[in-house]
Each structure stands twice: as structure tokens, then as C-alpha cells.
Subunit: 148 residues, 6 copies
């Protein structure tokens, strides 16, 4: 028994509706990187400076929550491509596909556990690699760009 | 492609089921104000007082999460009235409607970003104004009251 | 191990922020009743009338989803009052409290399983009874009204 | 009081993290259009053909859920741009901004209520218009493309 | 930009809190099988039998939603083990691990797309295989059992 | 009116699909206990040690979020058994059932409010008691075990 309050949607990925786009993973990874930078850039007040300290903790908690969430979205979007879009025929052409995906998802976790620009940049590179493989399999030439 | 794990409900607002009530926004705004006050009222222990400091950070993190969530619910409930309930005929009677809504949603964000009773009180006033407009368009006289 | 993708909020109910209001349960129960009526009122076309049949099934699916969701919200809101607001002192004054709540939540399930105005009306009555008990314990006289 | 089980995230939109991209709304709108087409293309078996009819209803229910969800995501993503990205300075340059957004969100609802390619195409056009305005305000020239 | 309304939790799996248990995937897979059987067992009334037909469509829509959701949960729980619990050392011992997981997740999709006891039974077998591998890596002997 | 963005699923508990299993509550309670211990075990750096302090706050925020979420899941899973599985016939045999459930849910809240191993252990005991009652009513002898 599980409560399952939320209807897990029919996940149009396995509709199938055919609308896959690695942009979703890229946008989330960008936000992870942005939040990581901002967390490291915040000045830390002394607990004795009450007003400033409250503002600091409020901002810190919010940025961590955003980083956490965006890392999770990045992971989820990467996994959707793996479980729903990629087929055995793609695996033949990209025999490292499973490993590329696995490592990319582990980078998402690493970005949660740490506040590390290095890890966040590695995640961006992993997403870019997946972007290239994805569009190659579609035979389309879509330029990689970032929104930020 | 997007994962879309959660089935976004048919939002009975656009069912349409006809059950609109600005109380939902008001209850959320009240909680934002309550949490803001409590966050400012917490005494901050020194990091060296281990047990008290852990309790403080636990409580702080929880209150920020509640404030964040309730501000988001308030924003969502206000937007539902705007996108689903209000029609062009209401806009004619209340030509500032778009702006009133826009500013109210921006107050929700401001209550997230800060720990400010002033902003939280402004949000309560904005919700009260929307309450008045809403019930006027329904031709009903519903008294504004708060639960707390 | 569970995935736990969604941060279950600190549920301001156990913040505690003190902002409880049975209106939330009432609004959801009203929507259940409204959807139940609309589902029964829809005319059923023959499967051979393709366009009308598609429109019927689309509307039906949406109304069921809304009914399901609102019944779940009503249940959740009732349970929040029970687990977070009501204290042993209230139980002494209302010795049937546990049973009143239990039966009300079972009515929520019943409204999901059936498309029955009778069950939906019973749910409305159960919520009204909880409304009365709740405001009595607060010593406030809040009139019961419906939004629809 | 509201239960608020899910922590509404700090919505990095109002973090602010600065990572806005109308692609999210576009991907969702594409899925709405795709599902609408597929729903209309399904052949309807007679209820007496048990196996085929069960398969039909299963597929239909799933596609409606996906359409509903994606229309909701499109709406949400459009509103995030409106409430979090756009500032008074943009409103001066695009005095119809409020109305463009309002109508786009109403198209999302319309795509839920109907199974209409016409409405879904109008939504795609509305999202394209918002894409153009958005990137103009950023002074960047990002080509509009679709993933499907 | 993405709205990210829900705070994606810190996913205790990558806390790490060390509490992994394939029971969660098994419970969900059991529910998928149960719903599949019930969907096939429902008697289909003629659309002309209004009351019975409404009841049928209500039950059908609910069962599909539960099947969809549980298949999604099963998939998610399987992926959590893969991305968060399994480490390179396990891959050495179970070189087919990636493929076992990939195929199990594709069975989850298949259970959504069809109303097939055969697919649901295959999913149960896949989960049992993962259960065995998992507990072997922990060096514990936990008996496989089902709740239903 | 309520927005109700998420389709509250048909909650297979009241499908009914017959797949109930108190393991879900137990797994969540284990995670609460694990997170509580880890929160208390973290060393607290001085705010002046910038890098260490940022890492501490990131970890702390994540662990609180996991504890919060898991306590909420435990509560929800316990309530599902109460509202959906247990019937009047069980109440006759276990006349304290309502109270056992009520107190268990209040322990979930207590585990959120505090960072207390004592409370977390009490929750584990409460879940074990519910496990025993549950399997007794099913006439099955399922051994209590923990995954961690």
C-alpha cells in the first residue's frame, strides 16, 4: 500500500507524444550553477547582527532549496531521455550511453551534496554531451546555447 | 519533452465548477504573516551552544519553508482568479485589474525574498482588495475576516 | 528507501502558525458536489458520433479528475485539523471527535468511488459539523456559507 | 489553515537566479498540440469489442491527462515570466503585455476544455509571440524552433 | 527558467541516509498488477444504460490513473536504487545491472501504455530480480513476499 | 475555489486495489531517525570559517528537508491505513485504534518540530505497533525488520 496522493501523469514521454528536448535538463543545470555561485558569494554576518543574520539564513535556505530542486529536475529530465526516448538502436551507436547517463545523474546528486562550482560545471558539460548525442540521433543540428 | 511526473489537475477552476473563493489566498497570506513574525521573534543562540543552535536552525528552516510555500500558494490562488474567474466584462468595470493582480503577485515574491512584516502586511491588504472586487462582481456581501 | 521527490513542507499546521480554517475543506467539498452534478448531467453520445463522443470523454475524464482531487483535498484538510489542531482537551469535550473525523474521511473516499449526489451532500454536512465544532473550540461565531 | 503538503520551492524565478527561458512553455505547448492530434486520430471501437474498447479508453484517458498537464505547465511557465521576469520597464515598451499574457493563459484553459487543433495552434502562436518579446527585452536573437 | 513549484526534496537517497529498500518498488508493482486485472474484469455497459455507463467510466478513469501512478512510482523507485544506491563496485559484480534496470523501467512504461497482465507480471519479475541483487549486495537474506 | 494544480490520484488505497503494506510507513520512519542522528552528529563550524560554514548550512538544510518530508510521508502512510484499510470490524477488536493512530501522527509532527532521537525512536515503536495490528487483522505472520 502506498498513498500516492498525486496522480503521476501519463508522462507524455511515454505517451508517446514525441516531444523530447534536452533544453529542460539544460535550463535546470544552469539554475544549479547559478545558485551555487550565489551561495558561495553571500557574505556571512555574525549571529549577533540579528537582522542581517536572519536575512542571510532566509536567503541561504531559499537558494539551497532551489539548487536541490533544480538538480533533481536535471536528473529527472536526463532519466526521461534514457528510459523513454533512447532505444536499443541508439545504444548500438553509443555503447557508452548507459554510463554517460549514470554519471550525469550522479553529478546531479553531487551538486546537491556540495556547494561546488566545479561539480556544477561538470554537470553542464554532461548535459551538453547528452544534448549532442540526442540531436545527432534525430539528425538535426541544434546549436547549444545557454539562457543565462 | 518534459517529464511532468505529476498530473496537473484539470484545475476545477477551468472545469469550470464555479467554486471560486478568495479565502484560499487569504488563509495563505495569513500564514505568511504569521511565519514572518515568528522568524523575527526567534532568539539566535551562539553556534557554540550546540543543542540550542541545532534547534534554532531546525525551526528556522521549517518556518522559511512554510513562508515560502504559503507565499507561493497565495500567488497561485490569486492567479487562478485572474486567469479563470475574471472575464473581459470584469476588466471593463475594474480597468486596473491586471495591475492589481500583477502587483499582488509581486508582493508574494517579495515576502519570500525578505523576512519583512511590512511586506506581509501589504500582501494582506492586496488580498483584501481582491476579496472586495471578487464579491462585488458576484453581487454578494461577504465580510472580510481572518482566521488567526 | 523512498524517492521522496517532493519536499513535504513543514506543514504550517504543525509549524505551528496557528492559522487553521475549515473553509479549505468546505471549498473542496463544494467542488466535489458541483462536479458530481455535472458528471450526471452530461448527455452521453453514441460512440459512432465521433466528434461529440471525443468531447464527452474529454469532459468526463476532466471532471472525474477534479472530483477525485477535490475529494482528496477535503480529506487532507479534515485530517490536518484532526492531527494538528485538535488536542486532548477538545477530545474530552467532543468524545465522538475521532469517529466524526473517521466517517468524514470515509465519505471523501465514497465520493471518489461513486458519482453520487447523495454522498456528496453527506460530505457537505460532515464538513459543516466539523466547521461548527472547530469554531466552538475557538469561541468564535463564524457563519457557515458556501461560495457556489 | 491549509495543509500544504508540498514545499513550494523558492521558485528560482524569484530567487532570483536569472535563468529564464520560454522554451519550457514552448515544449509544453507542443505536447498539447501533439496530444490533441492523437486524441482526434484514435479510432473508436464499439463497446462490444471488449479488448479494443478497454485499450481505447486506457489510451484516451492517458492522452487527456497528458494534454491537461501540459496545458497547465504551459500556463504556469507563461505566468512565471509575467510575475517574475517582466518588470515595469518592459510594460512601458510593450503596453499590451498584460493582455497578451492573459489571453495566452486563457488559451491554455481552452486547450484543456476542448480537443481542438485550432486552439492548440493558437496557443503555439501565443507562445511564439511571448518568445519574441522575451528575447527582444534581453537583446538576444534566439531562433524559434520546435522539437517535434 | 522553470517554475519549479514543488521543492524537490533532498531525496534522502542522496542524503545519504542509507535507508534503501526495494519494497517500495514492489508495492507499486503489485498495485499495477491489481489494477490491470480489475480493469480487464470490469463489465462494459452500453452507453444507453446511463447510470451504469457513468459508473463504469468513473471507475475506469480512476483505475487507469492508479495504474499510471503506480507504474510511475515503480519506475522512480527502481531508478533511485540505480542512481543513488548502486556504486561502480556493484557494477563489476553485476555487469548487466544497467541493462536490467533499463529494461525494468521500460516495463513500467509498457504497463502504462497497455492494460496487460502479461506486462504487469513481467514487471513483478523484474522487481523481484532487483530485490535479489539488492539484498545480495547488502549480504542480507530478506525473503521476497507480496502484500496482496 | 482552489487551484489544485496536482491531480490527487485515485489513491489506490481507495481504489480499492487491496495492496496495503505498513512497510511504507516504516521506511519513512527509519529515514526520520537516521536524519535526526546525522543532524545531531554534524560538527558546527564558526561562521568565520566560510567554506566549512557554507557546507554545514547546506547539509543541515538538506537533512532537515529530508526529515520533514519523511515524517510527513510516515504520517500520510499511517493515515491511509486508518482511513482506507481499517473498517468498523477492526475497531471492535482494537478499541484503541483511533487513539493509537492519533498519537502516532502526533509523533510525526513532534519529529519535525524537534531534532530528537527520543521522539524518532518513539515513532519507530508506534509504527511497529501498527505493523503488528495490521498483519494480525490479515491473519499473516510478517516479521518486523528494518532496512538500515
Amino acid at each position: 500500500m502506498k498513498e500516492n496522493k498525486l496522480l503521476v501523469a501519463s508522462a507524455h514521454c511515454d505517451g508517446p507524444c514525441g516531444v523530447y528536448d534536452p533544453s529542460s535538463a539544460r535550463i535546470a543545470a544552469e539554475a544549479v550553477l547559478s545558485m551555487t555561485k550565489k551561495l558561495n558569494a553571500l557574505e556571512i554576518p555574525e549571529p549577533s547582527q540579528k537582522e542581517a543574520y536572519i536575512q542571510y539564513l532566509n536567503t541561504f535556505a531559499r537558494y539551497v532549496a532551489i539548487k536541490e530542486e533544480q538538480a533533481h529536475i536535471a536528473k529527472t529530465e536526463i532519466l526521461v531521455l534514457w528510459t523513454d526516448y533512447f532505444k536499443p538502436v541508439h545504444l548500438e551507436k553509443y555503447p557508452n550511453l548507459h554510463d554517460i547517463i549514470w554519471k550525469a545523474t550522479k553529478l546531479c546528486s553531487s551538486c546537491k551534496v556540495h556547494v561546488s562550482e566545479e561539480e556544477a560545471n561538470k554537470l553542464m558539460q554532461a548535459v551538453e554531451e547528452i544534448h549532442k548525442i540526442f540531436w545527432e540521433t534525430k539528425g538535426r543540428d541544434i546549436t547549444w546555447f545557454t539562457a543565462s
